[in-house]
Assembly symmetry: C2
Homo-oligomer: 584 residues x 2
């Protein structure tokens, strides 16, 4: 007789990653019709830019959206790029298998990284319209055409109608076309329209064309004729490397590679002299730390040895991580873009050195601020409110706004210190581009950056840096204007009061005066108070929240006291450790 | 000579889902030390409760956290349950392989659903301490012991030191123990401590014990001695089924099952008569819709036929979805829990009928409100502020607060209409439990519910319903208190003014009076204004934002005008369609 346990476990099954994401489409960003369409364009456009850059080609991309059926919210999306194309051998897996691709195992800065996105689009077409994705890949003198879908159960590509011909013009590029349901085209905040605009803003070397369902062509010609350097693979920096990363890396080596050689060859900034320093430190510290034999084969490296070594890493001095693997947009280009698109009264950009986060991963943050003009976004009640323009590796982040480390960092800034009373009601745009060889996204939908301590701190410092620039520039001027306005409002009451009271008080009766004054205030003023629109009258407003802000400097190892004149109590360095307290 | 394309694609690789989540641990919720520890406890505790309930056992769970090394933030976590245990054949995959388990393919309400969580913990132990998870599984008269880790590259379990003995006492249960790094124990908001408390709050039939690193035992004995009914598998409801779901389901059938039989057997609420109705509708509507032969084998069902049928589903009347697959906590239990834990002045709970969201998935929302006493959370500046207590299938959601549909729904409520001027500063707790056979989480970390239109609307309506109850109960009393407070504050100024002015005005000089009055106001009052703490003085506060709120009713198909007396312009029904406008 089968037991109860047998009954329960008769349900035990395995499922593929494609089944998982089919059932949880929202984790890929497919939730909401406008957003789903944007996610599709985002996946294709980032892949296209990555591919062209990898091949050293100035990217040129045309996105076309056609409405197939208004009632059923079905659209056709096609994307044509001028990249290197995808060879026959790989196109199936590139567009029809999740967790496959050229990027996941590399330690190089690219927009895509997961090997999920394009196949996610194939799956979305399939489950919303039942149709495969059509492709034309031109590469190495060949033209490959066909259709592709995903076998969801096994997470493998299904190809049909595949033909390959010679392509005498040696044209190159990839064309993909799909029909998608449960999507909608508009020009709202999270739309394809906005996505293309933001992509253009941060990618001045890319030529972008959007053909809308109405037939309108929206064009963003490139403003730089120079291809950025190819993404360079880098190696982990010893600082921030976890024990498990170090063991994993070491165990990949062949039997003849010693630990010393492994460290020198596979990590950044490790010289023979540095290995000597590490050995010297460990020899002096045998108590509590495992002995490390730097001459043993790296593949025999043990966990306790790795723990000792990671400890030793933190005790010697290091050169900051290589920055040539990171490709920022560049202050000049950001300034130009912001100026041309937002026409602000003032804009400032910051360039900061690379930092490291957990896992020894180098990153850097580019931040800019724009004030006035078209900065900020249009508020429903009129005027403009603070806007945060987020990017990771120059790819726009349009969704999951509140869950993103960039948003949190910006919101945590004590804006009053920079002359902005209410960020949500100021004509200001904050631009942040997070640049790294691995972006810690909160989910496979790649729309928000996770709250890693070092990342969060660095973004906040970068934003504070540009905010200080803005504050210095604007000086007290704007603030005086505001104060003058408030003063005038109060003085209107005072004038009226004075006039009325001259008569009243002349009669000399304090009681009657009080009654009348009370009446006057209640009629003119109290109605507002009673409706709860004037919370501060009782004077119970809390004090400043004592937010800890500070400036940091240095190589991400030791925090130094900062040169900031304005800010406060505790500084954190790039690795999130507390720095010395400092007072103004 | 290899081409450029060959060079680029030489990097093309596949990777396992375990590699993916190892590189993106934050997607499983492993970001931040306190949070990471809570995620570990969460995964084990939800599995334990699910397993015991599945076997009809009243759950009894002990969680023990021990500090191993303060400096390296390393803790040992063990969880003992009294569930059915896991047989030898399955324990490897259950604890050491992602995307494997008993829950993913079922259409039944359980806390876990992904088959990732426990293996995610094994992986986290491995990469932070290099150690396997130890387990003792007692089941069917056997005691199985061993250690387990994940082969990350292949996503397969690695077992070692496995022994199996007879267990004459026929004890049952699972014990797991792991050492984890990069974690921290405390009693903060997102801590294990808080997690256990919230689990107890929503699971009165579970007996929970937490043994803290200090040795302190925190006990939550069960308050009901009755096991909830076992989770019942259900079938999709025709409404909300996507074309692809319908095709997928039909194609699973054997060759002898006709479409009509498939519909009747595999979907909820489909009778022979209903099939007749659908056929009649489609016969009358041949233009534009594909002909559907209900006698053909279900496995030959085509996409265009499925499209016709999905259209027809929306044109006939349906009985509401079965609710016996959904296991709410129950209004009585929620009321009891809130009362005992928060000791509020007032609490109200709502019981609402099940609704359907995309994919034909039934769900229901339980909402409650508590006012006064220990409701809300402690504010730094004193007093208590609005708190949102979120659950999905009675499992607490502690993180990704702002990205969650529950949070968004609560924040979108126009609280002023319910007598709450500022939700963030009111002593109020909103309790929401989202109950469904499939929870649309935003990420694999399972801490936030995605913004599905129907889900969002239903949560908001549920919260509005309990808020109305609270408003009716409290009536104008609380508001009067507040007004009296404000009035007193203003009158303090009036009294002072009157006194000072009696003297001044007696001199009869309006100019001087004005100057003095101005001075008085500036000293006493203006400093606050100038610091921007009194925004309303200029009287420019915007109007009510005209938020669209409404009450909805019915079976999730047609919206009816509502019976709500208070609220506004547009109502949405459970499927998110606009209902008729209504005026007060």
């Amino acid at each position: 007789m089968p037991s109860e346990t047998d009954r329960i476990f008769s349900n035990f099954k395995e499922h593929s990653v494609a089944e998982f994401f089919k059932k949880n489409k929202q984790m890929l960003g497919f939730s909401g019709k406008t957003r789903s369409l944007t996610i599709i364009v985002h996946e294709y456009v980032t892949n296209s830019i990555d591919a062209a850059e990898e091949a050293g080609i100035l990217p040129e991309i045309t996105v076309k959206v056609d409405e197939i059926d208004k009632d059923s919210e079905r659209y056709k999306v096609s994307v044509q790029d001028n990249g290197p194309g995808i060879p026959k051998k790989h196109i199936g897996k590139a567009l029809g298998q999740m967790l496959a691709g050229t990027k996941f195992h590399r330690y190089a800065q690219q927009r895509g990284q997961q090997g999920i996105g394009a196949t996610g689009c194939t799956m979305y077409a399939q489950v919303t319209t039942g149709k495969p994705i059509k492709f034309i890949s031109q590469y190495d003198g060949k033209t490959l055409k066909g259709e592709i879908s995903v076998d969801i159960k096994s997470n493998t590509p299904l190809m049909q109608n595949v033909t390959e011909e010679d392509n005498v013009e040696k044209a190159h590029g990839l064309y993909v076309e799909g029909e998608f349901g449960e999507v909608k085209y508009d020009r709202s905040q999270g739309s394809v329209f906005e996505y293309m605009k933001r992509t253009a803003l941060a990618n001045p070397h890319v030529s972008l064309t959007l053909i809308e369902p109405s037939g309108e062509r929206v064009q963003y010609p490139r403003s730089i004729e120079m291809c950025p350097p190819k993404p360079k693979e880098t190696q982990p920096h010893p600082l921030g490397l976890a024990v498990s990363d170090l063991v994993d890396l070491a165990h990949r080596e062949g039997p003849n590679v010693t630990l010393a050689v492994f460290l020198r060859e596979r990590l950044q900034r490790v010289s023979d002299a540095k290995v000597g320093e590490l050995a010297a430190y460990l020899n002096g510290q045998t108590a509590g730390l495992a002995f490390v034999d730097f001459k043993k084969p790296a593949k025999d490296f043990t966990w306790p040895e790795a723990e000792s070594l990671v400890k030793a890493f933190t005790m010697v001095k290091w050169i900051a991580p290589e920055s040539n693997c990171l490709r920022p947009i560049g202050a000049e280009h950001i300034q130009k873009s912001l100026t041309s698109i937002l026409a602000p009264e003032f804009a400032a950009v910051t360039e900061r050195p690379p930092k490291i986060y957990k896992g020894g991963i180098p990153f850097l943050v580019e931040a800019a601020i724009a004030w006035g003009g078209q900065s900020g976004h249009q508020l429903a009640e009129g005027g403009r409110g603070g806007d945060i323009i987020r990017y990771s590796n120059a790819a726009p982040l349009l969704f999951d706004i509140s869950g993103c480390s960039i948003t949190k960092s910006v919101k945590e800034v004590d804006w009053k210190r920079y002359g902005i009373d209410d960020f949500d009601k100021a004509p200001v745009s904050i631009f942040v581009n997070f640049v790294s060889v691995h972006v810690p996204y909160t989910s496979a939908g790649k729309q928000a950056i996770s709250d890693e301590e070092e990342v969060y701190a660095e973004i906040k410092f970068a934003v504070m840096e540009v905010s200080r620039k803005m504050q210095l520039h604007l000086g007290g001027i704007r603030r005086e204007h505001e104060q003058a306005g408030r003063r005038a409002a109060v003085l209107r009451y005072v004038k009226q009061l004075s006039k009325d009271l001259t008569e009243l008080a002349a009669k000399g009766k304090a009681d009657e005066l009080q009654a009348r004054l009370q009446n006057l205030i209640e009629t003119k003023y109290m109605s507002q108070i009673m409706e709860g629109k004037d919370e501060a009258v009782g004077g119970e407003e809390g004090d400043d929240d004592g937010e800890d802000e500070g400036e940091e400097e240095g190589d991400g190892k030791k925090a130094k006291a900062s040169k900031s004149a304005k800010s406060g109590k505790k500084a954190k360095n790039g690795n999130g450790k507390d720095a010395e307290d400092e007072e103004e």
